[in-house]
C-alpha cells in the first residue's frame, strides 16, 4: 500500500470504527510517514468525517463512539513515536470535564475526541469535578480554554459557580459549556463564552472564539 493508500485506509478504519486503525498506524510509521501526518491526514480525517455525518444526522452516538475508540487505538499506537519525536500539538490546551455532582460523560468524551482531532491538547478531568480542581488544572497547564459539561439541572448551579470562578482568573480562560439542559441563552446567562449543541460543532466554535480558522 502506498503512502496515500495507507492514510486513506487509516481514515477509513476510523470511520468504520475498526481497531485495525492501530496496526495501520504502525504500518504507516514503518513506511516512513511522520506521526504528525498520520494523525492529521489519517486519524483526524476519519474522525472529522464521522463528525460531519453525526452533525448531519447520518450517524449516531454509537458510531461516533466506536470511531473515537478506533482513533484512540491509533493514537495509542503512535504515542511512543509522538513523544519521542517531540511532535506536540500546535494548538492550545483545553481543560475539560463534567461538573461536580454529575457523572454523565459521553458528551464530554465526544467533545474531547473532536477537539483532539482538531489538534488541541485536551486535559480530561473526567466527571464529578469540583470547581477548584478545574481552576487548578487550568492554572497548572496554562490552558486557554475551559470546557464544562453537565446533563442535569441539579448540577447547573455547580456549572455556574465554576464559570464564575473561571471568569475571575487572570489570565481568564475561554469558557465553553454544553449538555442536555444547556442552551445558548443559558450559556450566555452563566457567563460562558460559547455553547455547542453537539460535539461536532465544538472545534469550529472554539476556532471562532480563539480568533482563527477551523483546522488552522
Amino acid at each position: 500500500m502506498d503512502y496515500r493508500g495507507l492514510l486513506d485506509a487509516i481514515a477509513e478504519a476510523v470511520k468504520e470504527g475498526s481497531e485495525e486503525a492501530a496496526s495501520l498506524c504502525l504500518k504507516a510509521l514503518d513506511a516512513g510517514i511522520a506521526p504528525g501526518i498520520i494523525v492529521q491526514d489519517g486519524l483526524s480525517r476519519g474522525i472529522n468525517e464521522v463528525g460531519r455525518l453525526f452533525e448531519s444526522g447520518d450517524c449516531y452516538v454509537p458510531e461516533l463512539l466506536v470511531a473515537a475508540s478506533a482513533m484512540e487505538a491509533g493514537i495509542s499506537a503512535l504515542a511512543p513515536s509522538i513523544t519521542g519525536g517531540g511532535e506536540a500539538s500546535e494548538k492550545d490546551t483545553v481543560v475539560i470535564g463534567v461538573v461536580e455532582g454529575d457523572v454523565h460523560e459521553i458528551g464530554k468524551n465526544l467533545v474531547k475526541v473532536m477537539l483532539e482531532a482538531d489538534g488541541y491538547r485536551v486535559v480530561d478531568l473526567g466527571f464529578n469535578v469540583a470547581p477548584a480542581a478545574f481552576l487548578d488544572r487550568v492554572r497548572d497547564t496554562s490552558a486557554r480554554v475551559l470546557a464544562l459539561s453537565t446533563m442535569m439541572t441539579t448540577t447547573l448551579p455547580n456549572m455556574h459557580r465554576t464559570v464564575e470562578l473561571a471568569l475571575d482568573m487572570e489570565p481568564r480562560p475561554v469558557v465553553l459549556v454544553g449538555g442536555a439542559p444547556v442552551s445558548a441563552e443559558l450559556a450566555s446567562e452563566l457567563g460562558a463564552d460559547g455553547f455547542a449543541s453537539n460535539a461536532a460543532q465544538a472545534p469550529s466554535l472554539l476556532s471562532a472564539l480563539l480568533g482563527r480558522g477551523h483546522g488552522d
Binding site: Y60, L65, E185
Partner: protein
C-alpha cells in the same frame, strides 16, 4: 385498595370499550362542570375534549421540598415518596400521580451499586459497574421484583398512591426500558459500543432484563395503577439509529407493553431524547400516550406533529425543562400557551415538562403550568 374490584384475587378493570364510552361521557360532562383529574385524563387519552387540558408536572425530586423529606428517603421509602407526591399534587395541582423515582431502580435490584446524593437524584456508582466487560452480560440473573429492595418499594408506592388517589387521580406506574436498565449497569458509552461490536452478548442480558421487567409491570398493574409509563429514551436520535433501536430494544419493549395492556392498564411512553422515533415506538408498543421533550425525528413543527400523530396517541409535553429552570413564570406560561394552541384542539394533549421538573427549582414553574392550563387550556381552545 385500588378503585378496581378484585375477583378471585385478580383486579377487574373496565374494557377499552367501556373506558372509551366513559371518556365520551366525561367530555360531555366537562362542558358543564369541572372534571376530576382522572376523568380529565381519561377523556384526553381517548382523544375527547375534557373541561381543560390536563397537566402532568413530573415533580419528582422537587416534591420532597414540600414535605421536608431527604432525597435518600424519597428514593427508598415508599410512604415518604407517596406523602411528597400527593402533597405536591394537592398543593400545586396536577392531574396524575406517578410512581417514578429515578432511573436506577431496576438496575439497583440487578446488583448495581448505588449512590444516594444529598441534593440530587440517586444514580449508579459508575466507578463500579455491575457489567464490567461484555462477558458479564451473560452473568445477569433473573430476580423477583417483590423480593428486591427498590422495585418492591416502587410497587408498594404504586399501591399506596392507588389507594390514596381513589377515583380522583390516575396513577401511572413506571418502568425503564431494557436498554436503559442495562446502561445503568454498564455505562451508556460502553453499552453503545457493545451494541455495535457484540450485539448478541448484549441481547443475552436484554432477555433476562425483559423477563424481569415483564414481571415488574405486571406487579405494578396488580396493585392498581391505571397505566404504566415505559421510558424508551434510546429510541431517539440522541442515542441509537432507528435500525439499531429496532434490533436492540424494539422487540423487548413490545413484550413489556403487551404485558401492561394484557392487564388492562394504559401504556404510556416517556422519551426525552432529541428526535424521538414516534413511528417505531408506536409500531412496537401502541402507546396510549407519549411524553416527549423534542419533536419527533419526522416532524418539523408542532402542527405537523399534531397532524401526523395527534390521533394515534395522546401527546404529553413538552415545555423545555431548561426553560422551567431559567425562565420566569410568565415566560413559561407563554411557552405553554403556544403548545396548547397547537396541540390541544380535539383533545389528546396533556401539558407537561419535557422531562422531570428540575428538582432543586422553586415550584413557581409548576404553578405556571397549572395556571397556563387553567387560563389557556379550557375547551374549546381559543
Amino acid at each position: 385498595m385500588s378503585i378496581y374490584p378484585r375477583v378471585r384475587g385478580h383486579l377487574v378493570r373496565p374494557t377499552p370499550g367501556m373506558l372509551k364510552a366513559a371518556a365520551g361521557l366525561f367530555a360531555v360532562r366537562g362542558k358543564a362542570m369541572h372534571l376530576l383529574p382522572l376523568e380529565r385524563v381519561l377523556a384526553t387519552v381517548f382523544h375527547k375534549e375534557p373541561d381543560r387540558v390536563p397537566v402532568v408536572h413530573f415533580l419528582l425530586g422537587g416534591a420532597r421540598r414540600l414535605t421536608g423529606a431527604s432525597y435518600e428517603d424519597l428514593s427508598r421509602k415508599p410512604e415518604v415518596t407517596a406523602e411528597a407526591y400527593i402533597a405536591a399534587t394537592e398543593l400545586i395541582g396536577g392531574d396524575a400521580l406517578y410512581n417514578v423515582i429515578d432511573l436506577s431502580v431496576e438496575a439497583a435490584d440487578f446488583g448495581q451499586e448505588m449512590v444516594y446524593p444529598e441534593h440530587s437524584t440517586a444514580h449508579p456508582n459508575y466507578l463500579n459497574p455491575r457489567v464490567k466487560t461484555p462477558d458479564d452480560y451473560s452473568r445477569l440473573e433473573k430476580v423477583d421484583p417483590l423480593k428486591t429492595p427498590r422495585m418492591s418499594a416502587c410497587i408498594e408506592l404504586g399501591r399506596i398512591l392507588s389507594k390514596k388517589a381513589g377515583i380522583r387521580y390516575p396513577v401511572l406506574g413506571f418502568c425503564f426500558g431494557p436498554l436503559g436498565v442495562l446502561a445503568m449497569m454498564r455505562g451508556a458509552q460502553k453499552l453503545f459500543v457493545d451494541c455495535l461490536r457484540c450485539p448478541e452478548k448484549v441481547k443475552v442480558a436484554l432477555e433476562v432484563i425483559t423477563d424481569v421487567l415483564v414481571d415488574y409491570v405486571r406487579l405494578q398493574c396488580d396493585v392498581g395503577v391505571d397505566g404504566v409509563m415505559l421510558d424508551t429514551l434510546f429510541a431517539s436520535q440522541s442515542a441509537l439509529s432507528r435500525e439499531l433501536w429496532d434490533e436492540m430494544e424494539g422487540p423487548y419493549s413490545k413484550r413489556i407493553a403487551d404485558e401492561v395492556r394484557r392487564w388492562g392498564a394504559l401504556v404510556m411512553l416517556h422519551n426525552c431524547g432529541v428526535g424521538p422515533y414516534f413511528d417505531l415506538q408506536i409500531e412496537y408498543m401502541e402507546p396510549d400516550g407519549i411524553s416527549f421533550a423534542y419533536l419527533p425525528d419526522d416532524c418539523s413543527s408542532m402542527s405537523e406533529l399534531k397532524e401526523k400523530y395527534g390521533r394515534r396517541t395522546a401527546l404529553v409535553g413538552f415545555v423545555p425543562t431548561e426553560a422551567i429552570y431559567r425562565e420566569p413564570p410568565a415566560k413559561i406560561m407563554e411557552i405553554a400557551r403556544e403548545q396548547i394552541r397547537c396541540l390541544a384542539p380535539g383533545g389528546g394533549y396533556m401539558l407537561a415538562p419535557g422531562c422531570e421538573y428540575p428538582p432543586n427549582n422553586e415550584i413557581a414553574g409548576a404553578l405556571a403550568l397549572i395556571r397556563a392550563a387553567e387560563t389557556y387550556g379550557k375547551y374549546p381552545i381559543k
